[in-house]
């Protein structure tokens, strides 16, 4: 177990290195120059420009820039934001818990919808409840996320006035108000994930229901409730967890739009703002952190396999 985790972590080293090179070079290949941004539109003063270049190390060869950047990051220094002049790590660490909260809440919403929907659809395969669940799931996949979010805002905050339309309150300050602010973005993001998950859980349940062990369970005299709720569900959850892991990475991506719509102060909005400001060091930092989180989530999923599926040996 420990050996497996260590090996996986070791395997991550080259992956992350390649990633860092990509992140680094990507931003140096796109048009637009951070110095221009700093100088302001229309101004040009070669002396100031040269001074700025030197200050940010942009005058040195790219490999040297990369090496400096990388070693700094390894020592925890992601640099300073060109715009706000604050340390990037601090900016990211401030925002990251908010995004994580939103992602987790969305995952809960997604499971709360897709688990019962998928199971019912599978049990009533090719009958009315199945068609109903699948139609809703298809709609969920087809409807653009941001549009659905706006609809929710219109209904629940503009029209009914039940929930705030945007903003963020820390749960540490006021838990209930925080939850109220969380609901709409979480539902927006969670329903998109739920649509896919419902289809997956349905397919997985149908597959498992035809397995030999289900026949054995029936032959023993077990009731359908135990068969579905214990025997089948435990098997069906194994592939489902993989997909949840993959989609969790997707949740972070989806967070960009949702965070903008709901003015949610997360990583996604930080990234968008950074792009608008051409805040190169900040973009690099955000992208790198997002990539690391993605890789880490996948590692956690693989390790959690062991607990779900006794057949998987991790060594």
């Amino acid at each position: 177990m420990l050996k497996y985790t260590l090996r996986r972590l070791l395997q991550l080293v080259p992956v992350l290195l390649i990633l860092s090179v990509l992140v680094f070079s990507l931003l140096h290949m796109v048009p637009g120059n951070p110095i221009d941004v700093l100088m302001g539109e229309g101004h040009s003063d070669p002396v100031v420009e040269a001074a700025l270049r030197e200050r940010y190390g942009l005058d040195r060869p790219l490999p040297v820039q990369y090496w400096t950047w990388l070693t700094n990051i390894l020592s925890g220094d992601f640099g300073t934001s060109m715009y706000s002049r604050e340390p990037i790590l601090k900016l990211i660490l401030e925002r990251f818990p908010n995004t994580l909260l939103l992602a987790l809440a969305s995952a809960v919403v997604a499971l709360a919808i897709s688990l019962p929907a998928g199971i019912i659809a599978a049990l009533y395969q090719n009958r009315l409840p199945d068609f109903g669940a699948m139609a809703v799931a298809l709609a969920g996949i087809s409807i653009p996320n941001f549009w659905f979010g706006i609809l929710l805002v219109l209904l629940f905050s503009q029209y009914l006035g039940w929930l705030p339309s945007m903003g963020y309150v820390s749960p540490a300050e006021d838990f209930w108000t925080a939850m109220k602010h969380l609901i709409l973005p979480a539902v927006t993001l969670g329903t998109a994930m739920a649509a896919n998950l419902t289809r997956l859980i349905r397919a997985e349940m149908i597959e498992q229901l035809s397995q030999d062990y289900v026949r054995t369970a029936r032959a023993k005299g077990l009731g359908e409730r135990v068969i579905v709720g214990v025997h089948v569900l435990k098997n069906a959850m194994i592939p489902t967890v993989t997909i949840i892991g993959i989609q969790f990475g997707g949740l972070l991506e989806g967070a960009v739009l949702t965070e903008v719509i709901f003015a949610w102060p997360g990583i996604g909005r930080l990234a968008v703002d950074a792009v608008y400001e051409r805040d190169y060091p900040l973009i690099q930092g955000v992208v790198l952190v997002a990539a690391i989180v993605y890789v880490a989530v996948n590692l956690i999923v693989d390790i959690s396999y062991r607990y779900l599926d006794p057949r998987v040996k991790l060594d």
Binding site: K3, L6, R7, L10, D315
Partner: protein
């Protein structure tokens, strides 16, 4: 077509081993091996049929694939018609492989469902009028020439196995490897396919490597037999000699475990082996059979027995051979007439 004379065998397998890495360490180097085939020696003369029997995990199917060089052997040689396949170049290997065809267990997955059986068979046919040859092959295996345009799903399991045989005959092979080729078939159909194979052997002088877990079928079909256990051959010899007087304790147990289709004989000779075949990942030291052998002593854990030649063209790998019982495993021989009511 074959250069083999009577004293050079068509196929010679010497010291053939095949192992697979089943787990790797932190740097991706193999840390655990599965020895599927361990130093196997075989010879097969032109026109001869050699049966390979054994239980699951004994390595018989891996042996077939390694002989065909579908896997590169870990050690040892396969010499087919005088050519060492291990040192042959790709073109030469391909050319030799065409002369060794394989028919497998599952006739359902062996055929491409989207192609007509005629085009599947035509793949292997070379030169001349391919369509005429396909029609001739279909008739040879007991189907009709008109079936060439039909699809696999229109045929029963037995018919599909006939199609697979026709396909294998396309390149005019010298050696047919039948890997559990009749195991998935119903008994009534199994007999048809065995008769078909026997006819091909007679008409074309084909050699057979007949791999099966079904001992009764092997006794009915093979000239010689080799018994495998956990990757090693434990006994080999002429089929009737082995069945009438099995010498290795495993051979004896294996033969006596087969249920006999005659109620009066039930249980009279049963020698139950304890336990299951050990995992090939962790085979016992010394003689691999010793953990289940009723005759094993300390010496069997230390020394791995090698095949020793007995008088009657037979070889047995057992350290305790001299002290063991022998003779038929069934107490009372039964006459043919009594045994076969029909």
């Amino acid at each position: 077509m074959s250069d083999a004379t009577s004293d050079t065998p068509l196929l010679r397998v010497a010291g053939l081993s095949q192992r697979f890495a089943v787990s790797r360490d932190i740097f991706g180097r193999p840390s655990q091996w599965l020895e599927a085939v361990d130093r196997v020696d075989l010879e097969l003369a032109a026109g001869e049929t050699l049966g390979i029997v054994g239980e699951s995990g004994c390595g018989k199917s891996t042996l077939a694939r390694t002989i065909l060089h579908l896997h590169r052997p870990s050690a040892g040689k396969v010499i087919f018609d005088g050519v060492d396949l291990g040192s042959a170049g790709p073109a030469r290997l391909r050319q030799m492989r065409r002369r060794m065809q394989i028919v497998m267990q599952d006739p359902y997955s062996a055929l491409n469902p989207r192609r007509t059986i005629g085009s599947s068979i035509a793949d292997g046919v070379t030169g001349g009028d391919r369509r005429a040859k396909v029609r001739a092959l279909l008739e040879k295996v007991g189907l009709s020439a008109g079936d060439a345009g039909r699809y696999p799903n229109e045929f029963s399991g037995g018919q599909r196995q006939r199609i697979c045989i026709a396909r294998a005959l396309g390149p005019d092979p010298d050696l047919l490897i039948a890997d559990e080729a009749v195991s998935a078939l119903d008994v009534s159909v199994q007999a048809q396919i065995l008769n078909l194979l026997a006819g091909l052997r007679r008409d074309f002088g084909l050699s057979f490597l007949f791999i099966s877990h079904n001992l009764a079928v092997v006794r009915a079909f093979c000239d010689r037999v080799a018994v495998m256990y956990l990757g090693r051959i434990v006994e080999t010899g002429p089929t009737e000699a082995v069945f009438q007087d099995p010498r290795h304790p495993y051979t004896r147990a294996l033969i006596s475990a087969v249920p006999i289709p005659q109620p009066g004989r039930r249980r009279e000779r049963r020698r139950l082996l304890a336990g299951d075949v050990p995992s090939p990942l962790d085979p016992p030291s010394g003689c691999r059979f010793r953990t289940r052998c009723p005759h094993a002593d300390e010496g069997c854990a230390r020394t791995a027995p090698v095949l020793e030649r007995l008088g009657d063209a037979r070889q047995v790998a057992c350290l305790r051979l001299g002290t063991l019982e022998r003779g038929p495993v069934w107490a009372a021989p039964v006459s043919q007439a009594e045994a076969r009511p029909c």
